[in-house]
Amino acid sequence: MLRYAIKRVGSLAISLIVASLVIFACIEVIPGDPASFMLGINAQPDTVAALREELGLNASLGARYLSWVTGMLSGDFGTSYTYRSPVAEIIGDRLWISLPLALIALGLTVLIAFPVGILAATKRGSWADMSVMGATQLGIAIPNFWFAMLMVLLFAINLRWFSAGGFPGWENPLAALKALTLPAIALALPQASILARVMRSALLDTLSEDYIRTCRAKGLTQRQALWRHALRNAMIPVLTIIGLQFSFLLAGAIIIENVFYLPGLGRLVFQAISQRDLIMVESVVFLLVFAVIMVNFAVDLAYAWVDPRLRGRA
């Protein structure tokens, strides 16, 4: 297990370095001179020169990359050109909306998908299975931001159970959770549909294995065979999908924030784009890519935990 973990950490480090190089190249190399890009075509040469100095653009590319990376390692993401305050602080504030949103949505996804998928697999061919398959087909096809708008129309505008948008802050945790409820449901529904289908087919695969028949033959009930043997073996594909889904949930959170006017990372990055605040865009994108890579790493380790056979390979 330890050797496997060390190997995975090595490839994790390489992924992070290459990802940071790609983002650095996109933001700081492709546009030519980021300073004149950020200030626009009408900028005075001395303003551009001043910004170049401020952003440290006069150093060589290699030195700039190194100082960007070492800065991030020590929690210094640079200073936002438009906000005039440290990027790390601004992102930290916004993260307190986007991350909980993605996590709640992930929790909901699992809470919905597991029982539904297990039900459909165990009652295969029944009306329950058919309706699960039909409903999930719809759930996969529905654009989540449109579903969010429909929920606003129903629950906020017509029924007035929820507010249509905005975020009250975490000082009042209940109100904050309430503000994240509709966004989280909108995010979770399509992902739960996908996961429920994966759960169903993975479980159907394992339930038809010989060892399940053996379990039944030695006297285990269907239920015992399911919980003790089939579920654990069905977890590999399910975990893979959950890992992939987290990145979709984070990215999706950015879009759903727009529907509910939540001041999270999404609104931050879209504002940064229109204000040409490249430093901010660079940092937010790297942070999200970092999160995705870390989650995939965690999923890889989880595989090894679920399936001991994988520990030998890497």
Partner: protein, 269 residues
């Protein structure tokens, strides 16, 4: 079979709408008629009018072009680059080339198409082309992995061995023997990526990273409708249904195709 026919019919309906919109739409979508704005559905305007008085039915027809074009080109990019990469990786399994291709794939997977779109848009500004590139890049590893996985098992077949004995090189074997045998898989995956592309395009233009006005697109229409939803819900309903039914149609067609093309899987249901 039923799902294939139903799915294809649904998809064909939207594709047809997009094609017809090049020569005819019920109303001209470039003409603004403010006096006629936000009218609910009537016999004249089947889906009502938007905040500029434009006919929503006509806009959905024209918007279908954007959605379908973006998604199709993104699939072509993904297949065009991903399939050769996957074939090459499988042909030289375990080599440095294989390793580089697979690690590159992993890396792209860490960049959801939304993030690629954000990076591109931050530098080049928003456009439908950016959406195509962002979705297309994300499609590459999907096809590369699928092709490599399927090709690896084919490389152990006897007929490949026979071809090698006959003196064919790896490239020729990949093109003449491996590719035809993974084609079915690629067609099914292509349908799925097509439907994901429609969803991604809608999301990107919804947040302003895709097609720009005046080009009608379903995602943009929904973005415009958002502030009007309390006033005129129909403005938000129809573009959403257009996306939903197109994606549903493609997914059903994909499921149906898989059943038809790969009879082994049919037993599963």
């Amino acid at each position: 079979m039923r799902s294939l026919i139903f799915g294809l019919a649904l998809t064909a309906m939207f594709a047809l709408g997009a094609l017809v919109s090049f020569v005819w739409t019920p109303y001209d979508v470039t003409v603004l008629e403010i006096a006629n704005k936000l009218k609910p559905p009537t016999a004249d305007h089947w889906f009502g009018t938007d905040h500029f008085g434009r006919d929503i039915f006509s806009m959905i027809m024209v918007g279908a072009r954007t959605s379908i074009a973006v998604a199709v080109v993104a699939v072509v990019i993904g297949m065009g680059l991903g399939v050769p990469l996957g074939l090459a990786a499988a042909a030289r399994k375990g080599s440095l080339l294989d390793e580089v291709i697979m690690r590159g794939n992993d890396l792209i997977f860490a960049f959801p198409s939304l993030l690629i779109a954000i990076l591109i848009t931050a530098i080049f500004g928003p456009s439908a082309v950016n959406a195509i590139i962002a979705i297309g890049i994300f499609n590459i590893p999907v096809f590369a992995r699928l092709t490599r996985g399927a090709a690896l098992s084919l490389w152990t077949r006897d007929y490949v061995l026979a071809a090698r004995v006959a003196g064919k090189g790896a490239t020729r074997i990949s093109v003449e023997h491996i590719l035809p045998n993974v084609a079915n898989l690629l067609i099914v995956q292509g349908t799925i990526q097509f439907s994901l592309g429609i969803l991604a395009e809608a999301a990107l233009s919804y947040v302003g990273l895709g097609a720009q006005p005046p080009t009608p697109s379903w995602g943009r229409m929904l973005a415009d409708a958002q502030t009007l939803i309390a006033l005129a819900p129909h403005v938000a309903l129809f573009p959403g249904f257009a996306i939903l039914f197109t994606v549903l149609g493609l997914n059903l067609a994909g499921d149906g195709l898989r059943d038809v093309l790969d009879p082994k899987l049919r037993v599963q249901r």
